[in-house]
Symmetry: C2
Subunit: 218 residues, 2 copies
DNA sequence: CCTCTTTTTATGGTATACCTTAATTTTTAG
DNA sequence: CTAAAAATTAAGGTATACCATAAAAAGAGG
């Protein structure tokens, strides 16, 4: 396994988790990774040969058991490094992702286990996302998105997707985990959600609201 | 800069430090990296184009200032990770090298600085080798090798080269930093050095004695 | 069922970093 | 000065992982 393959598996895992469907469309993979459809197809064939994915042309890809295991290991490494970088090295919220992205590919099983213990067996990363256990179990975090909140609701941020632009955006506006957002209403035919937070009004598009998960208080 | 280039620069730095000469023979690089002379030549031309080395065919290679800076940064990362892996994660002496080898290529400047502070600004790695400062200064450690010791001397181990087989060998025989080795004599026309340590007699070849540095008490 | 869109395949190309085998050049040692 | 040894270059090859362009196949909707 190398960097490229690991990235594909991780991305596949994330896409199938986000869309809550096992099968992932190659076009979506292509967009997510920023590669052409042609390149993605080539790589999927290689991953298929290695039994990491199950690829049925015209019907999407699915991680095999082996592929899933590897994907989860990468996610685990990523989130554990994020905890380390934040808790121990005090890196900024938005820098975490990029650094963890590099370290995750350079971490052996042994180091991962020791790191896990050293960090006090954390259950979630800094962005609130669950850290898979060593045997690959993933505890599902909050699934309710901010996009689903209605005017009058108070939305409490529990986890956000580890997506660089989103993190930058939220950090700049002081919206962290635990933040309480009062949903004021919708704008632009429902595309934008208007929320209040600490006397500030924010207009949030779907690429933001669909990536934030939490609880609703009515 | 990528993994391959970084490895070349690091190896060049180590070879020129070990031989105490600026210029490195491509044949030595070739042996150290385990690549053919042809491959090494190709790569040296690329590194030369990028101004990382100064390559005069038939007269060896030399790191440029830029190449030196990068090499030292890799050494710094390597040794800091070793300290982390040993002090914080409690990895075994011999496992350190391999793991640090991977992490060093995945570490940004920022993380390196924070890690340095977090570890308490260590001066040497676990094998006793100096950790270059952020601005590239390297404090020279012990330079006297065990190979230079004479019968009757007591050799105190201060640092050993970060060379996997050597570390495995020493760990198996409980020879750690600070170990006091009594030099008994030579064998095989001087190829082998006979030393005593904790009631054990060891016969050490040059690939071992030339890689161990320390002080001599007469 | 047929068109349109999407997806896939086919071909050929790029860069990196290795390799082998075989010349050729340069250095070095006698 | 010259032959042997060492270093370099030449030529062609491999695998990985991208790319573009274009053709072909399959699916989806009316």
């Amino acid at each position: 396994m190398n960097r490229a393959e690991e990235d594909y598996l991780k991305q596949l895992y994330e896409l199938s988790t986000n869309t809550q469907s096992e099968r992932v469309k190659t076009a979506d993979l292509s967009t997510a990774l920023g590669h052409t459809a042609q390149s993605v197809n080539e790589m999927l064939k290689r991953l298929s040969d290695k039994n990491l994915v199950n690829y049925t042309p015209y019907h999407g890809v699915r991680l095999t058991k082996k592929g899933h295991q590897n994907a989860v290991r990468m996610i685990r490494a990523h989130r554990l490094w994020e905890v380390f970088l934040s808790d121990k090295l005090d890196l900024s919220w938005e820098a975490l992702h990029e650094e963890a992205e590099k370290l995750e590919h350079a971490t052996s099983e042994v180091v991962l286990d020791k790191l896990y213990t050293y960090l006090g067996k954390p259950k979630t990363c800094i962005h609130g996302n669950p850290i898979p256990t060593a045997d690959g179990q993933v505890v599902q975090g909050a699934t309710l998105t901010l996009a689903q909140a209605e005017p009058g609701d108070v939305f409490i941020v529990r986890r956000v997707q580890d997506h660089a632009p989103l993190l930058t955006y939220l950090q700049a506006r002081d919206i962290a985990l635990g933040a309480r957002l009062s949903v004021v209403g919708h704008e632009s035919l429902g595309d934008t959600l208007v929320v209040k937070h600490q006397n500030q009004t924010h207009r949030l598009g779907q690429s933001i609201t669909a990536r934030m998960f939490g609880d609703i208080e009515t």
